[in-house]
Subunit: 396 residues, 2 copies
């Protein structure tokens, strides 16, 4: 006997993995240069040089017994203080080590926050379409009910009325993710202020706080004139989940954090509940070598030029061909409307006819869109453009 719920999670077919595997197979047949793989959100710019320099230095300098030893569960004080100081300076906050809990990436941070907030039987946590599909898994693991607010397809900001319509007295939190995976949208300050106003009013009405869980792995990936507002400035009851995966191009190294600013309601109790939930899911500490690397690299920013070149090329080329999409201002994704509104069929046809691999939007809550991850080789984008042209022509 085994747990069938987890068995199903462990065997669920992954569209992205299927596309990726298909691409690898086809590359053997038609040549790597004739496969156009936009499936994976794997950073394609190398880490800042200081990351590897820090690893060498730390391994050489830190006393052997301390180097790989445990830290306390929230992380080394010095490493957390360095991140708190960087955040405070860059975002005009007053954070300290005690506001941060280091985790093995944003995913377990998010799981712990959901578990900490799932206070009632049938607590509800809301995501806004389009959303990162694993949110559903993580929220349901916490015991809360996962509800989805409809997308604002005009510009992938937030459909405030749509959120309002599904809030209830059991709503514990609303998840936001800006810059957004999969749309690349950056929520404006105006959008966030509207959401904050709604949540304040509803918190008052229901007699308990509704939190924002702000999932921010792409916070530092923003282009042109766009700016990413720091969410706790706009809504006091905001909890941040962060990962260094994208900003430092170290997704495999598993380091991120939960940040609960003091101004958040029940901040200390929530921090304790996050620590307790982390403990229950087997968190001991985040990787200690990487904690020390983060301490050194808290101010390092990604060089976004390569992503930005990709973004401008793919956006201008596809819109010229007649594809509909909102210009992505952040992250490294673009969310494109399927010409006839059926992205599953578009993705299937693009794969089979052109070795063009795009992710259909069903899992993101928008089945009429497909996602392009443009963290790829610039030349691949150029080579892929005739395939995009042929695809849209096929629908005319």
């Amino acid at each position: 006997m085994f747990n069938t719920k987890y068995y199903q999670l462990g065997t669920a077919p992954s569209v992205i993995r299927k596309l990726f595997a298909y691409g690898l197979e086809q590359a053997k047949i038609v040549g790597e240069e004739n496969v156009y793989d936009y499936s994976l959100g794997n950073p394609s710019i190398p880490s800042p040089a200081k990351v590897n320099q820090s690893i060498h230095k730390i391994v050489d300098d830190v006393e052997p017994l301390k180097l790989h030893g445990y830290s306390m569960a929230p992380g080394f004080d010095d490493a957390r203080a360095a991140v708190a100081e960087s955040l405070s300076r860059r975002f005009d906050m007053d954070l300290n080590a005690g506001n941060l809990f280091f985790t093995c990436g944003a995913a377990p941070a998010f799981v712990a926050v959901c578990k900490a907030l799932a206070a009632l039987d049938n607590s509800e946590i809301i995501a806004i379409a389009p959303f990162f599909p694993e949110y559903r898994v993580f929220v349901e693991e916490s015991g809360a009910i996962f509800k989805v607010a409809p997308a604002d397809k005009e510009n992938f900001q937030i459909d405030i009325d749509g959120v309002s319509a599904i809030l209830s007295s059991r709503t514990q939190a609303v998840i936001i993710n800006s810059p957004n995976n999969p749309s690349g949208a950056v929520y404006t300050e105006e959008t966030l202020r509207e959401l904050a106003g709604l949540l304040r009013a509803k918190s008052k009405e229901y007699g308990h706080q509704i939190y924002i869980i702000s999932d921010e792995p792409y916070r530092e990936l923003v282009y042109g004139d766009a700016r990413v507002p720091f969410v706790p400035h706009i809504y006091e009851n905001s909890i941040i989940c962060y990962s260094f995966s994208k900003s430092l191009s170290i997704p495999g190294e598993r380091i991120g954090y939960v940040c609960i600013p003091d101004r958040c309601a029940d901040a200390q109790a929530l921090y304790a509940a996050v620590a307790g939930a982390s403990r229950a899911i087997g968190h001991v500490c985040s990787p200690t070598l990487m904690q020390r690397v983060i301490q050194e690299c808290a101010d390092e920013m990604p060089d976004l030029e390569a992503y930005d070149q990709n973004r401008r090329l793919i956006y201008s080329a596809l819109t010229k061909m007649g594809y509909e999409c909102v210009r992505p201002d952040g992250a490294f994704y673009m969310f494109v409307k399927a010409p006839n509104g059926d992205a599953n069929r578009f993705s299937e046809k693009a794969m089979k006819d052109f070795n063009l691999l795009v992710v259909p939007g069903e899992g993101f809550g928008c089945p009429d869109y497909f996602r392009l991850s443009y963290c790829v080789d610039h030349e691949m984008i150029k080579r892929s453009l005739p395939a995009f042209q042929a695809m849209i022509d096929a629908y005319k």
Copy 2:
């Protein structure tokens, strides 16, 4: 509102942390050399040299974009194959990469296995006293009921009748941990054969398999003539949770695995359920730099001489004074009977009167014993002996 269960877990007073903090405070007052801290199970021998050499080499040699990128959730094929090959050779098994699922240490491995096995409402998972206290937290997180079989205080092997008495048709697994934290006992082949016989008979009676969850972070820490039998040889339905924390002295780096041999009933389905449970608690992959280090160091063994010297000194000195304890054959712990059977009071008095920090056994399921972690400086043990003498004299 927040989850009170996790809040309590996050604020639960830790006896070990309290002792450790007291020690740090006292060191400022009486001098570090006059505090005898046996509280923490933190490795005190440095990592094999190859660990740091591998880090330097990998950072220099691996292509920047691959170096810190994601692996698939179970881990790199090559790294898992290297560990499978090492295990197969050392323990005469026929394992391959597909039997291993890399995790961020033994703790999330254990959580995922419990979740995968918690199939029924009210599934039961059994630990055998004395046991690592976090088992209770992890089992309860899975939704299963945590039951404890009484200790065999003669020699800290397994009280088979005691286990038999608490098995039921809802028992999904029995946890074993050999070499044992806190007793240092190594279960003999005879002990394990008896347990296997019991579980086979009961599995037949109940019409479903009862698994062994073998938690083996101390597998490579064994002294003198003692040998650690490889559990899957003795009981077919064994699932291993392993960590490299103790064998390579890298507890902060968070890397371990679940191993499900092919001979285990429902092996593939269980593997999928472990993968699904890991996904649900936010596992993406284990730290990729460390995966590559493990690939290089799969055959590295700890140099146990320092631990063994400590073990011989503390065991012979304490037994000569009249303390009762079973000779520890593995790990780096010794479990000693409190002279009057009240280890809480013994620990309190030792701390206050002598700055001698020992962990009372209540949390381990044996309130009349205290644990010594002898992964400490050898000279500290020598300096501490008069305190142990004075303590036992005080009870005469």
